[in-house]
């Protein structure tokens, strides 16, 4: 009898404790995510949801170091052509299936073979996966590939339940089954995505919420109003203009993280015949004059109300791979004019295409005014985003204001944009020397050696100017002051481990 009473008491305490900690975290997203399948997913905002739903082999820390998550250790082979990964034991997927080496093999192969996979390109150097034992896998590569570990900290490293993935086929994204701290409950398109705490999560002591609800609200003012009225606990991508108001409100806290990506102007230097028809695309001296006419600090002040970091490379100045030999050039209108004179074009005119998004339109206007002082006649062409991408891919532009959300490894900000013939190389830039250096950096695993190579790339690219990098935005987050344990990692993901409401 006493035993029964004891049990009842224990049960009552457990229920009470459960009720006390039954907490929901409500997060306002700036967009509605796309397919929730790590293999097919294509948007930045989708990755924010994955951060709570799907664990990855590796993760990033605040200083961009690669740290284990589902993996516990790794080791490159002597020739750097294979990567041995030790896996965490005792991890299960949300359907109870075991996470092991077979599951990793299945996932990597799924990424590589599924029709429409957005990961195939990222994992292209991986030729095969060996199951060494239950908790060890080996990824075999066609050549050494330094960005691989960073790839595995993102969607390419996310592991889904093989059983669920096989059963659902192409429709897996409608009800994803991963191994993260939260499992999928429901999704109402454009309204909300609800996740629920996974009781058997391997790191469950770090999880202090029972539910997470992601609410996509595209309008920044409305998103903020929801935070202020208490409908939401957390909002991402706060408008820079709302920061002063939030700072004076003690109910909320603000976090700022320099992004991994950049905001810049891509110049058509060789993409189509348009490049040769205007002085900006034709003559590097004109591009230099254009860059010298710009004041990045002023652009950041006017466009972003100071809530961004000026920059001149594909990674922000604080990044370990920022090339210190190429500092941000100062504005010099006199020199810009002299260069134009030397090039024999005193009044060069070109069209600057910009998507119809507020920040980018503002950039175009500020750039237009600044460049005019050096004698440039910049015509602004505002174009709806999807249309502008199409024109950029076809080379139907002279200069184009475009942002890149950034990748953890510098190669992700570089290769696709500056390597000859790469898919996002809208400027049509082609420099065999730069190609060779970028390729060399890809096969160099030693960080210091890679930095040296990127210094050479930076030195050359800053002369050729296929892209003029302007600044790096801050990820601006606002949240209730009751929330603690927030980690600010430059990839802009909201990590739920350790996050707590007091």
């Amino acid at each position: 009898m006493r035993k029964v009473k004891g049990l009842m008491l224990a049960a009552a305490i457990a229920v009470a404790a459960g009720a006390a900690s039954a907490q929901t975290l409500r997060i306002g997203l700036a967009e509605d995510p796309d397919i929730l399948d790590p293999t097919l997913a294509r948007t930045f905002v989708g990755r924010i949801v994955f951060a709570a739903l799907c664990d990855k082999l590796f993760d990033l820390d605040e200083n961009l170091n690669i740290v284990p998550q589902l993996a516990t250790a790794y080791e490159w082979s002597g020739d750097n052509k294979s990567l041995l990964i030790k896996l965490r034991e005792g991890v299960t997927f949300h359907d109870g299936e075991k996470f092991n080496a077979e599951a990793v093999k299945f996932n990597i192969e799924r990424h590589k073979t599924m029709p429409g996979s957005n990961r195939r390109g990222e994992l292209a150097p991986v030729t095969s996966v060996d199951v060494v034992d239950e908790y060890t896998v080996r990824l075999n590569l066609s050549a050494p590939f330094s960005p691989l570990l960073a790839m595995l900290t993102d969607r390419a490293g996310m592991m889904v339940s093989p059983k669920a993935a096989q059963a659902a086929g192409q429709n897996f994204g409608a009800a994803p089954v991963c191994s993260g701290p939260f499992k999928f409950v429901e999704r109402i398109a454009q309204d909300r995505i609800t996740l629920e705490r996974y009781a058997n999560y391997w790191n469950k002591d770090e999880i202090h919420f029972d539910r997470i609800v992601y609410v996509p609200i595209t309008d920044a003012t409305v998103r903020l109003a929801n935070l202020r009225s208490g409908q939401l606990d957390f909002i991402e991508r706060v408008a820079a203009s709302d920061i002063p108001g939030l700072r004076s409100d003690s109910r909320f806290k603000i976090s700022k993280i320099v992004e991994l990506g950049y905001q810049g102007i891509t110049i058509n230097v060789n993409k189509s015949e348009l490049a040769q028809k205007n002085p900006l695309g034709r003559d590097p001296r004109v591009r230099e004059a254009f860059e010298l006419s710009l004041d990045r600090d002023a652009i950041v002040q006017v466009v972003m109300e100071g809530e961004s970091q000026p920059g001149n490379q594909w990674v922000p100045p604080g990044n370990p791979f920022y090339a210190k030999n190429v500092p941000i050039p100062k504005r010099d209108v006199a020199k810009a004019k002299a260069l134009l004179k030397e090039a024999g074009v005193t009044n060069p005119s070109f069209t600057l295409m910009t998507p119809t998004n507020t920040d980018q339109q503002k950039i175009a206007q500020v750039v237009q005014a600044m460049a005019a002082e050096a004698g440039f006649d910049v015509k602004i062409q505002s174009t709806e985003f999807a249309t502008s991408l199409n024109l950029a891919d076809k080379g139907q532009f002279e200069a184009y204001v475009l942002a890149w959300s950034g990748r953890a490894d510098p190669d992700g900000n570089l290769y696709s944009f500056l390597h000859t013939g790469a898919p996002l190389n809208n400027s049509g830039y082609s420099n065999p020397e730069v190609d060779a250096l970028i390729n060399q950096a890809r096969t160099t695993l030693d960080v210091e050696a890679r930095k040296k190579i990127y210094e050479q790339v930076a030195a050359q690219v800053s002369k050729d100017r296929p892209i003029i990098y302007l600044y790096h935005r801050y990820w601006l987050w606002a949240y209730t002051n009751k929330l603690s344990g927030l980690r600010t990692v430059p990839d802009g993901m909201i990590r739920v481990q350790g996050l707590k409401m007091s």
């Binding site: 397919i35 294509r42 930045f44 109402i188 454009q190 309204d191 929801n226 709806e384 996002l424």
Partner: protein, 313 residues
């Protein structure tokens, strides 16, 4: 009656065929390659090629049209390539939300609009009339998104009475559902109320000067009975027609209002789909609303036919 019905139904088919061609054709005029925007930031060439094949983008326009119509005839409106869900599911998910919002808005519009219209007609050229006119003008000239944001700031942020945005299904919590819907419904209803008020006012003024109203008054009927029973009933006919038209428009989605209040209805669905070039969703939703509109129109015609003996012949 039977021949009339057959005739009306026969005209629906060519209308729908024409509408479907128009939807499909107009969509092709949108610049930008849907495969490129759907492929996301990376625009991986393999993924673009895969999406082009899924969308049949490399086939000639008439063939693509036939693929789509063929699917539609079998009840398959296609699939959203962005979030990978059947379009029909999305429509059925949004439909109750849109119907509820439209119904609440139209009720609000009728209550405000008809009351204000009657008052201003009866109290013509008094302070009441002027006040009603000013309110109507305000309703017509206030942009929905601005009014929406002001209401959110007042009732949600400052007073904390209502949720700022979002949607709760009525089956989950009716109170929360109404709390979430009242502001957007008011914003939408407010603009329509102004139109209805103007129409009610002019119809009432016309009816009030009719002979039978004078007769009713001469019989010594109470003014309240004359206005509400004799005058208003007749004045309401054009107002109800107008209200029905406005209701139809509301059903096709209220883009800005849904955006501001994050109500997941047709308007938000279609705008997001256009920007993301999610063609199947755009086509599906427009076809669905067009069909609904045509059907409602047919029902209205049939109702006239039943009500008006002169049409029956």
């Amino acid at each position: 009656m039977f021949t009339y019905l057959v005739q009306r139904l026969a005209t629906i088919i060519p209308t729908l065929v024409f509408v479907s061609m128009l939807i499909f054709g107009l969509q092709q005029l949108l610049p930008g390659d849907p495969a490129i925007i759907l492929a996301g930031e990376e625009r991986d060439p393999d993924v673009v090629a895969y999406l082009r094949a899924r969308l049949h983008l490399d086939e000639p326009l008439p063939v693509r049209y036939l693929y789509w119509v063929g699917g539609v005839l079998q009840g398959d409106l296609g699939e959203s390539l962005r979030i990978q869900r059947p379009v029909l599911d999305l429509i059925l998910e949004k439909l109750p939300v849109t119907i509820q919002l439209a119904s609440m808005a139209i009720v609000i519009a009728l209550v405000i609009g008809v009351t204000a219209g009657v008052v201003s007609a009866v109290k013509k050229d008094t302070i009441w009339d002027y006040a009603a006119n000013v309110i109507a003008l305000w309703g017509l000239s206030t942009p929905n998104f601005w009014l929406g944001i002001m209401l959110i700031l007042l009732f949600s942020v400052s007073l904390g009475w209502l949720p700022a945005s979002g949607y709760v299904p009525p089956t989950e919590d009716l109170g929360a559902n109404l709390a979430a819907m009242i502001m957007p419904a008011f914003v939408l209803g407010n603009a329509i109320a102004a139109v209805l008020m103007r129409h009610t006012r002019s119809a009432m003024l016309q009816v009030l000067s009719a002979d039978y109203v004078r007769t009713a008054r001469a019989k010594g009927l109470a003014e309240r009975v004359v206005i509400l029973k004799h005058a208003l009933r007749n004045a309401l006919v054009p107002v109800i027609t107008l209200g029905a038209l406005e209701f139809g428009t509301l059903l096709s989605g209220a883009v800005l209002t849904e955006q501001v209040f994050t109500i997941p209805g047709f308007g938000k669905l279609i705008v997001d789909a256009v920007f993301n070039r999610d063609y199947a969703v755009v086509q599906g939703v427009v076809l669905f609303t067009a069909t609904a509109y045509i059907t409602l129109n047919l029902l209205a015609d049939l109702a006239y036919f039943l009500v008006n003996p002169r049409l029956r012949g």
